[in-house]
């Protein structure tokens, strides 16, 4: 039979613990966040230092050295046009990472503003804005992105716009839900009673309280955006040759699977690691920042 103390201990164990408030505490308390952040940092460093890490030109062709097997001179071999695959994989991060960044920024700024406006204003504004968001959500994301690219024409810029648009609903819904839940709380009413303007109320009182779920979502969205960009490029709708793009490199590599599988394996691993880093970080941050989900 359990004692009162045991029952109390059980209750305490089930009570949500406040999320860590400093970055140091977050990394110390949640090693998964630290490991995922380190992986992501490595990815960012590779992107920034690409010209120094990759010794070969990722674009210059050399047909006399086409389809060489991996060796000391060419770590991942060469592709069908004699380009160094390692250099192309490293430079590929300079396409994927910025695409993820721009797409998330578009989704966050436009979708987030829609959600903020809908949640804060309520009434007809909320009704109209959210119906538009529902209409975007009525399409599976990748299919909407493909339809947008079909209209605008294949290319990296159009792929970025398309991926940004399909990211809108998630931020609009997240921001709206958070604003609705915060809006009725006493500290918001108090600020309003003290005469705070809507802009001040949003910037000083609502946004800081929205940061935790937003950070988690940004990480998960970046993973989804990279995956979507790679898929569009794999299908030939994203980056166009001779850009060193992981998805497009896999598209080409798939044609040489019989004799030169590394052409597909190198970029495939690179995409997987990059997407994994963002997904892992988002997942770990969600566990750390939202105690209800632990």
């Amino acid at each position: 039979m359990s004692t009162v103390y045991e029952a109390l201990a059980e209750d305490v164990a089930e009570t949500p613990v406040s999320p860590p408030t400093t970055l140091g505490a977050l990394l110390r308390t949640y090693p998964r966040v630290a490991v995922a952040s380190a992986l992501l940092l490595l990815l960012v460093l590779v992107t920034l230092l690409a010209p120094w890490i990759a010794l070969h030109d990722p674009i210059a062709t050399d047909p006399s050295n086409a389809l060489l097997s991996p060796s000391a001179a060419h770590l991942l071999g060469t592709d069908e046009l004699g380009r160094d695959l390692f250099a192309r994989v490293i430079w590929g991060s300079r396409v994927s990472l910025p695409v993820a960044f721009v797409a998330v920024a578009v989704g966050l700024l436009v979708g987030g503003t829609i959600g903020l406006a809908a949640g804060y204003r309520g009434g007809l504004t909320d009704l109209l804005l959210m119906r538009v968001i529902d209409a975007v959500l009525a399409f599976p994301a990748l299919i909407l992105a493909i339809a947008i690219v079909a209209v605008l024409g294949p290319g990296l810029r159009n792929a970025m716009i398309a991926i940004g648009i399909v990211q809108l609903p998630v931020y609009a819904r997240l921001m709206r839900a958070q604003v609705l839940s915060l809006k009725g709380l006493e500290f918001v009413s108090a600020a309003r009673a003290l005469g705070a303007s809507p802009i001040r109320l949003i910037a000083r009182h609502l946004l800081p309280n929205l940061l935790n779920p937003l950070i988690v979502q940004i990480s998960l969205s970046a993973a989804a955006a990279m995956l979507a960009e790679a898929t569009l490029s794999f299908l030939g709708l994203g980056a166009q040759p001779p850009t060193a793009d992981w998805g497009f490199m896999m598209n080409t590599g798939a044609q040489f699977l019989n004799n030169d599988p590394w052409l597909a394996l190198g970029p495939g691993l690179a995409i997987s690691i990059a997407v994994l880093a963002f997904n892992w970080l988002g997942d770990a941050l969600r566990d750390a920042l939202d105690p209800r989900l632990r």
Partner: protein
């Protein structure tokens, strides 16, 4: 749902009007004359005001007439319906293996939390959503087709021609398409099961002396699967998205491959029909999922 369906139809209608190329010029090709373009624009109704064009288009669409393919002149509805069975077969197989693997795996992971099985299952759930399905498809072809020669690397045999050959060719694309959903379903089953195992009624069932099987299968799993059902329903969208890529890799003649071929062929009526069909079926599935959820969980009421 009606306002959203209206907005969706407007968006799909707009697709053809937002393209940089005039559909009449596309149909007539390089040999066109300005007079022929004007005549065809008039014949297709492209010279009429947009609201009027929308009303004509939607009234035709509601009767199943989505126009004709620019490349083949085949009715769009017929082109989609001809390729739908192949996609349905692939999608059903992918969802089936996904559910059959995910539910036991997620349940075992939850029951043995922290064990090596749980670590493996959790690792799989994050890898499954991170590795692109085209990479999974390529890996499967490389290992099982190119090296071990166990499966053909692509192609399709209709069920009516040969059932064994059809199934043989189905396995690799179905695994490719179902991996993401398997990962998501495993994760949902695991977390849902963990949540249910903490409930008082499980403690009560154990306290009254119910057998392990009764507690797990009769009480825990039954309740834990309610949210999983909704997730599986919503995955119809993921399956349709994945079909675009999987059908392209494995030369599977479904609607996904039709859509991709149509994009490169600038066959806008087919793209329009495809997007409309997908959006409507996705919306209807979501509605069915909502209703199924209320039916499965009597605590939810939409009244």
């Amino acid at each position: 749902m009606v306002p959203v369906a209206f907005l969706v139809s407007v968006a799909v209608f707009s697709l053809i009007h937002l393209t940089p190329v005039d559909p009449a010029e596309l149909i007539l090709g390089e040999e066109r004359t300005p007079e022929a373009v004007v005549a065809l624009r008039h014949e297709l109704g492209l010279d009429r005001p947009l609201p009027e064009q929308y009303v004509t288009w939607i009234s035709h669409a509601l009767r199943g007439d989505l126009g004709r393919s620019i490349r083949t002149n085949q009715p769009v509805t017929q082109a989609i319906l001809e390729r739908l069975p192949a996609t349905l077969e692939l999608g059903t197989a992918a969802l089936a293996w996904s559910v059959l693997l995910a539910i036991p795996l997620g349940t075992i992971a939850a029951l043995r939390r922290g064990s090596p099985v749980d670590v493996l299952a959790t690792g799989f759930t994050i890898l499954g959503v991170s590795v692109p399905n085209f990479f999974i498809g390529i890996l499967l072809i490389l290992v099982l087709s190119v090296n071990l020669r166990l499966f053909p690397p692509g192609g399709f045999t209709p069920l009516t021609d040969s059932i064994p050959d059809n199934l043989h060719r189905l396995i690799l694309p179905a695994i490719t398409l179902g991996t993401v959903t398997t990962a998501i379903n495993t994760r949902f089953t695991r977390s849902s099961m963990l949540e249910v195992l903490r409930q008082d009624y499980i403690r009560t069932a154990r306290a009254k002396g119910a057998s392990w099987r009764q507690v797990i299968v009769g009480h825990a799993l039954k309740n834990a699967l309610i949210p999983v059902v909704t997730v599986v329903g919503i995955q119809v969208g993921a399956i349709l998205e994945g079909a675009l890529v999987t059908e392209t890799i494995f030369s599977w003649p479904g609607i996904g491959k039709l859509a991709i071929d149509s994009i490169f062929g600038r066959d806008y009526p087919i793209i329009q029909g495809f997007v409309l069909a997908i959006a409507l079926s996705y919306m209807l599935t979501n509605l069915a999922v909502d209703l199924a959820y209320a039916w499965l969980n009597p605590r939810i009421s939409y009244a």
